[in-house]
């Protein structure tokens, strides 16, 4: 009996020591907020939210902005506390809004061939971009409209229009777009200026295939004293890190030769 107890205990202690050592060496430092959020969750690991366990769910709440209300077990009070915690600390301070970085409507798009395949962007993108000249622009099959859970995207003249009132910045359309044209931006002001083009093609080619593309002339970059615009890899990009410079942007956008700087 005594031997049994001693041998089992010593074995257990030995393994514990090895694991403790391994834990020191192999520890993964994770976002402390995940543990905080995890504290609010019920720890029953029921999986009703669609994740493996509560910890996994907490990770998705923090990293991917998953909806905490998906937890069905959480009581009313606990949920409110969690939401309060997330509301004060979580996410970015400004609401996000999706922006389409392409301005080519049907009349602007130049075809190379007739596309008769499956009518969605993902399929078309695999087959020479659905017969469009521009490899970066919107193909207009509306994959983004289908995934939008808030009915905020509608196709108009072959281009998705995002209703900024309805858009919650969930980012589903960002993932759905095979060409990465839709991006999320912080909605710091009532109207956002943005460069409605995603093409990294050179000026000559853009001129040939699209009347509304960014030709990377650099005028906006030269005119913006506070470095709001920056041209990299043949494409201008708008940065909103500075303070409000709406007037400056307005004068710059008026000077843009292809009028590719637009507002939401």
């Amino acid at each position: 009996m005594l031997v049994a107890i001693i041998s089992m205990t010593s074995l257990a202690v030995m393994f514990a020591a090895v694991l403790a050592f391994a834990d020191k060496k192999l520890r993964v430092v994770e976002n402390p907020k995940i543990a905080e959020v995890n504290r609010f969750l019920p720890h029953v690991n029921c999986g009703a939210c669609g994740y493996v366990n509560c910890h996994d769910f907490a990770e998705h709440i923090v990293n991917d902005g998953e909806d905490p209300k998906k937890c069905r077990v959480l009581g009313e009070e606990a949920r409110e506390e969690l939401l309060k915690f997330l509301g004060e600390e979580g996410g970015s301070a400004y609401p996000q809004v999706a922006i389409v970085h392409c301005a080519a409507e049907d009349e602007h798009k130049r075809p190379v061939a007739d596309y008769n395949g499956i009518r969605n962007c993902r399929a078309a993108n695999l087959v020479f971009g659905g017969g469009m000249q521009c490899e970066y622009g919107c193909m207009g099959f509306g994959d983004c409209t289908e995934v939008c859970p808030f009915d905020a995207i509608h196709m108009e003249k072959g281009l998705p229009r995002i209703d900024p009132e309805k858009c919650t910045g969930c980012g589903k359309c960002v993932q759905a777009c095979p060409r990465g044209i839709i991006k999320l931006a912080e909605k710091r002001y009532e109207k956002l200026f943005y460069v409605a083009c995603s093409s990294h093609d050179g000026a000559l080619r853009v001129r040939q295939i699209c009347p509304v593309g960014c030709i990377a002339c650099g005028i906006c970059e030269k005119l913006s004293k506070s470095e709001i615009f920056k041209v990299t890899d043949n494409l201008a990009e708008a940065h909103y890190v500075k303070e409000e410079k709406q007037d400056e942007v307005k004068t710059i956008s008026a000077k843009c030769p292809t009028k590719v700087i637009k507002e939401t």
């Binding site: 041998s7 089992m8 074995l11 090895v18 391994a22 993964v28």
Partner: protein, 193 residues
């Protein structure tokens, strides 16, 4: 030497743990969606099996048998297995977070994978020597990986097949598992392991 090779082949193919003993079916069905994660779990299980066979043999013959503690074998074996699984979990989490995510709950569930406890018990039943045990563990792990990867390969192709609605998902997987088992039983009798 010949003996060792026979044990290796027997454990991995003719007496495959998954497809002839029907041990460890849970991860076999659960993680055989993608070849990548199947290989990952296979490697993890192989490591745990080999190490568990090695360490349990040492503990069994140098602690349990001399002190008449054989009745504690289940507890001891589970302790060893659980420790190694914990170690593997930490290791994978550090080295490949993507694999860690893909395996999800099945990684800690290796602990309760009956193939591993079965392995250690077989090892005792068959009176394997130390070297034989290590090879047996390795062979069993390779066999588990093999079964898992074959299944994952078939299931990846299955995505393009027109399966009757009632059989989609786990249903067709179990049917395929049965056919695979039949195929592997064809090896039976070539080597007795």
């Amino acid at each position: 030497m010949e003996e060792l090779i026979l044990i290796l082949i027997a454990a991995s193919i003719t007496n495959n743990f998954v497809l002839t003993y029907f041990l460890g079916i849970c991860p076999f069905i659960g993680v055989s969606n993608k070849i990548d994660s199947a290989i990952g779990l296979g490697m993890a299980t192989t490591f745990v099996m080999t190490m568990a066979a090695t360490v349990t043999w040492l503990i069994y013959y140098y602690i349990l048998v001399p002190y008449n503690l054989v009745f504690l074998q289940y507890v001891t074996f589970i302790l060893v297995i659980a420790s190694f699984v914990q170690f593997v979990e930490m290791f994978i989490r550090k080295v490949s977070p993507a694999l860690y995510k893909a395996l999800g709950i099945f990684l800690p569930l290796i602990t309760t994978n009956c193939a591993i406890l079965g392995l250690t018990l077989f090892m005792v039943l068959r009176n394997y020597t130390f070297l034989e045990s290590v090879v047996f563990g390795l062979g069993a792990g390779v066999g588990f990986t093999l079964a898992l990867v074959i299944m994952a390969g078939i299931r990846e192709e299955l995505a393009f097949a027109d399966i009757p609605e009632a059989l989609q998902g786990t249903g067709i997987t179990l049917i395929i598992a049965g056919m695979l088992a039949l195929a592997f039983m064809g090896f039976g009798g070539i080597i007795s392991g």
